[in-house]
Symmetry: C2
Subunit: 254 residues, 2 copies
């Protein structure tokens, strides 16, 4: 199956590494807004074709597209690719709003296409191990999930620059970027919440530096914190009647 990638960041390189284990895919094209970045990336990764126009990519022979652009672009790019009959695997968060997601699911269904989020947790074998461990600790009454990681871009922000990751116009910030890694296991393990509340501490740019959530799912009282301007050292914890589970890294489940 002919595959194109949108984006040239480190995560795309990582995705390409993973492709070695998926011989049915033939990576032939990369899209970048910058011709120069695209050419460099293509050369480094043995990719034959560079697109700098989404229309060209949409008209290309790509059968599926991996999207790893800034969050704010996920919706329009996914829509264009799905409407062109291409399967889409999109980085998290798959869209910025639920309505956007519903709309794109409908287009995918109508066109009989696979449209899926590249959220590691849901596809990790460690997820099964976590579920098994959960079975050993009895009724879980409370859990706290944290993903707080000091961003390598924060010093630049403090110097007065505006990296994408701290630019709300890019639909980024701690919840979109890190907090989502807490949301997945919480809902996967404990079900959809009956009530949810959240508060954010905002940078002057308008992006959330940190977000705190409290929610109740099937009589389990859950909190989550995420932060891009400080570093976690305590990890996440699930507290059951017969034992507790500590998770050092919620994104990697280690």
């Amino acid at each position: 199956m002919k595959l194109a990638v949108i984006g040239t960041g480190w995560i795309v390189k990582s995705f390409i590494d993973g492709l070695k284990f998926a011989p049915d895919f033939e990576l032939f094209a990369v899209y970048s807004r910058s011709r120069e970045r695209g050419e460099t990336f293509a050369k480094e990764n043995g990719i034959s074709t560079v697109y700098t126009s989404l229309d060209e990519l949409a008209a290309s022979p790509a059968e599926c597209v991996y999207i790893a652009s800034p969050n704010a672009l996920h919706y329009t790019q996914s829509k264009k690719m799905l409407e062109s009959g291409k399967h889409v695997i999109c980085e998290k968060p798959i869209t910025v709003t639920p309505d956007e997601f519903s709309e794109l699911c409908e287009i995918a269904d109508k066109n009989k296409l696979i449209y899926i989020e590249a959220i590691m947790y849901m596809h990790s074998p460690v997820r099964a191990a976590l579920r098994e461990a959960l079975g050993d600790i009895g009724k879980v009454w409370t859990a706290h999930f944290d993903f707080s990681q000091y961003s390598s871009k924060y010093p630049a922000y403090l110097r007065g620059e505006l990296p994408n990751i701290f630019n709300p116009a890019m639909a980024t910030g701690s919840l979109m970027d890190l907090g989502i890694y807490c949301v997945y296991p919480a809902i996967d393990l404990f079900g959809e919440p009956e009530t949810v509340s959240a508060v954010s501490a905002f940078l002057e740019s308008g992006a959330d530096a940190a977000t705190a959530v409290s929610m109740l799912s099937k009589n389990t009282a859950i909190t989550m914190t995420s932060c891009k301007t400080g570093q976690d050292h305590a990890g996440s914890q699930i507290i059951g009647e017969r034992g507790s589970i500590k998770i050092g890294s919620i994104s990697k489940l280690t």
Copy 2:
């Protein structure tokens, strides 16, 4: 100053141990609803007088009273003692509702009496150390406070008994009993919250087994969890721009 204690639990013994460092106090009486428990306790602790009637205690020569009864009794007992002209030091939570607390503060003011809560955190020298550490880690964007401790009474509850601590008529449960230890440092360090949300996971008895809180104080996104039916192993954490503070036991600040 002549002192009486209300209650015969382990915390009263602990309070009496502390009195050795306060030579101005003369412990002369204990109040217990049970004559037998009162007599035993008095003998064990070298106390001369046992009261089983609050009216007798109110009419006694006690100048101050330490109250360590079940939470639901704090208000009425404190009121009676304050109205009888006695200083009151009352175990946490000092009352069950804010209105009760305001009313008793007024009575204390009017009668020129000291009325204070026996909340360890506010009077611990470690509090100053924590504040100092906080000064070293820069702007704090997020913090999580947890006090989850498996109650020694929970097996009895599971056997069908109803210990005070799981009886909502006693105004107990995880938030009243443990969560309060998270509330104090959160507000002390970060100020009164602008918004607060909380959810509880309830036992069939109606007491909360666990409570989860999210709140925003001065642009710091804070969560808290407390649980009486499971055991914490991860502790609490304050995440600043220049470092994080991990706290193993939030009640003892160690």
